[in-house]
Amino acid sequence: MDFSHILNSKKITLSVVLGVFLTVFTCKAFAIQEKQVPEAAVENKETSKFDPSATILEHIGDSHYFHVGGHIAFPLPVILYTDKGLEIFSSERFEEGEKAYQGKYYQYALIKDKVKAVVADGKTIDETATVIDLSITKNVASMWLSVLLLLIIFFSVASSYKKRVGKAPKGLQSLLEPVILFIRDDVALPNIGYKYHRFMPLLLTVFFFILINNLIGMVPFFPGGSNVTGNIAVTFVLAVVTLIVVNVNGNKYYWKHIFAPDVPFWLYPIMWVVELAGIISKPFALMVRLFANIMAGHVIVIALISLIFIFKTLGIAPVSIAFTLFIDVLELLVAFLQAFIFTMLMALFIGSAVEEHHH
């Protein structure tokens, strides 16, 4: 497919992307209705203190709604795989978590932002039902948006390479060429060695996937701001990919180093345990590092904004905004750095698995 005309045209490309995204994901936005609450509850709400940690956890967590701002949110599809069969409906049915929805097989409700099968009263979790949640959540939607962006960008760059053979790069191509060369010359080649060519597609994909998700996560308004790379499930999958690639490509020297290292034979049982722990702990460290860095970035930004509401004064706002800006600039660096470090360590682990023995 050739998408280059989209990016080569002078029209704003973002509107195309957003248009596709919105058509795919939304039926209609709805305004959350002001709830009818009794007088006493209103008073209680005003006197209750602002809880920053609840706000932070809500913002970094996943959701069945894609909030645009204020009281407007896009409902996202809920897909459930129950023990009786598949259920698909819109999260609009929950009316912002207020109501239970009677599905084909069970009754469902949002309990702490998770879809659970409930018994007739709509509050108690039905323990007999097995429900696997495969919903298109906010993070999934955001990840698909970034994948769409990556496809558009890289198909256009690839086609301009085909068209401009032997000529200097142009436009988007000249933005990405140094980055791709950097991954090849400074990440893949030194760490993997002469066999680097096979792993370039993987390394580039991982690098740009993490980078674009980090960057989209930093955009404070719709459709950015979801915490994709700061979600442990996403980094877990990336780490599992690393684990599989490293061990599938491990040569005989790699396995000899694990099962028959140059130590007295009675040390073997200890060495096996240590080396097998090493196999698992390397991807585990990758997983937690990316997750923790990105999540901590989101937490700090929201915590600084929360200062305004904790002190209940506008006077603190300039300080809060200044700190937030500073942290945001730092997070821009971290977004690049974490994508780079993940790719580099992945290359390093692959390199240790494919290198030839030299003694």
């Binding site: 860095n293 750095l337 470090i341």
Partner: protein
Amino acid sequence: MTGSIAALGAGLAVIGAGIGIGQIGGKAMEGISRQPEAAGKIQTAMIIAAALVEGVALFGVIVALLGNK
């Protein structure tokens, strides 16, 4: 006294990261002053090492956050 002991854990993690990043920064300065022409390379290596140390500190912060629930 109220609050969670998890905050103490986060604080201890930050001490470790502070020592680590301090060492890295100090040694990098030393290296640059000995060999100013290698400043670029030293800076890159320094930032990578600092990010690795920071990663370990964030492990602690995450555990503290989870323990806070």
